[in-house]
Amino acid sequence: MNEQAAPVGGEPQMRRRVELVVNGQRRSAEIENRLLLVHFLRETLGLTGTHVGCDTTSCGACTVRLQGTPVKSCTMFAVQADGLAVTTVEGLAQGGKLNPVQEGFKEEHGLQCGFCTPGMMLVSAALLEENPNPTEEEIRFAISGNICRCTGYQNIVKAVQWAAQKTQSEQAATTVA
């Protein structure tokens, strides 16, 4: 990797080799510096679960988790994520088992067209890790950077509540066992 600055007047370096850990797998590629993280995921890696919605930092459809933190992948260059861990919607299920948030969206009909769903689920999963038993208000605040145009917020909130309950009852069962 070319860590050092090329001197002004030297050959400008518009590309870099990067290595990211995406959903637990090391993925390396030589890319243009200007390639947005969302396009790296969708086009370079073929992970099309991350959606491009507004492309203007407004809608949250492109949300992924960077080192665990939800970020808008249309508002970040892939080179910025060099050496870091990214989780996309494809990485939510573990070992063939759906994340409780995914189950919740299924059980509570938390989607219609599904366009906002990857971002909604990643933000919700991050919320529940930090706050396992959120109030309805806390859920609505947490997803306020994600726009759903099917106006399905009611069921999205229910889906997150479902996931919270499921996680808590599973943990309670583990504690009793």
């Binding site: 510096n33 970020v71 808008k72 260059f77």
Partner: protein
């Protein structure tokens, strides 16, 4: 949307970042959270030749109270301010502003200092920093200098920074034992820019105002202080008359323009309402009688 091509540098030290910026000058841009810069690059309103990414530099993410005040490093995200108990206890205007800025995902990346350096008249942090009387610390090839925040904003998207300077932190003075503040923001929806925002800060001494700070968002070519309102409050007792008078003076300091978010008259009226409301909230929290 694809930005124009650029060279990308992730320096590990501030010295390295400064030497890169010195090399590229006007054609280099400093990247912190990127939540304002990258959208501009995607629209090609900005097309820097080189991006100097501060995110790999250690020690710039400090949000700490030290002798004389609160230091906010160049990589402190708005989310860190939103979560800070210290801010809720001691720097209330900052704590109240943080969760109203953009949306939760943007706040995970966007930085306080980056917002100031961007110098958007619709930015929220600028008004808050004007109200609390912050100072900006910048480093460049000529060394370090401190810029009082009221001298920092020079026009829309124009700051007092030289092309080779990086803001390393912003420092909020110790508010003293009896102080508080708040930030009121009118926005059409989450994530929108402010239609109007008003930041208020009060510090009290023996029942009188020791210092009042009022910063206004989105009603002038830069974030502005309502100086006459601040002066009218200094040394005064806080009562209905002094609060109403200050609110009227704050409204006079606003020079809003009619646009899709509202008419000039409407915005000026909101400045008055928010200033009055903010002063009452801050006065109560600071323990005024």
């Amino acid at each position: 949307m694809y930005p124009a091509k650029f060279e990308y540098f992730p320096p590990r030290t501030l010295e390295e970042a400064l030497s890169l910026l010195a090399k590229y000058g006007d054609e280099g841009k400093v990247l912190a959270g990127g939540q304002s810069l990258i959208p501009l690059m995607k629209l090609r309103f900005a097309a820097p030749r080189a991006l100097i990414d501060l995110n790999r530099i250690e020690g710039l993410d400090q949000l700490v109270e030290e002798d004389g005040g609160l230091r906010i490093g160049a990589l402190v995200r708005t989310k860190a301010c939103e979560r800070s108990q210290l801010l809720r206890d001691r720097y209330r205007a900052l704590a109240d502003a943080a969760p109203q800025i953009s949306d939760p995902i943007v706040r995970n990346r966007g930085t306080v200092v980056g917002s100031l350096a961007h110098a958007d008249p619709q930015g929220d942090w600028g008004s808050v920093m004007l109200a609390v009387g912050a100072r900006v610390e910048a480093r460049g090839s000529g060394g370090t200098r401190t810029i009082p925040i009221e001298q920092f904003f020079q026009g829309p998207f124009a700051s007092a920074l030289e092309p080779d300077e990086i803001v390393t932190s912003v420092v909020v003075p110790d508010p003293g034992p009896r102080a508080s503040g708040t930030y009121l923001k009118l926005e059409r929806k989450v994530g929108d820019f402010a239609t109007v925002g008003v930041a208020v800060h009060l510090s009290l001494d023996n029942g009188r105002v020791r210092r009042a700070g009022i910063g206004l968002t989105a009603v002038a070519p830069t974030n502005v202080r309502a100086t006459k309102a601040e002066e009218a409050l200094a040394g005064a007792e806080l009562n209905d008359a002094s609060i109403r008078n200050a609110a009227e003076l704050a409204a006079q300091a606003a020079e809003p323009r009619s646009d899709l978010r509202g008419s000039a008259d409407y915005k000026r009226h909101i400045v008055q309402v928010f200033t009055e409301r903010g002063l009452r909230t801050a006065a109560e929290a600071a323990g005024a009688a």
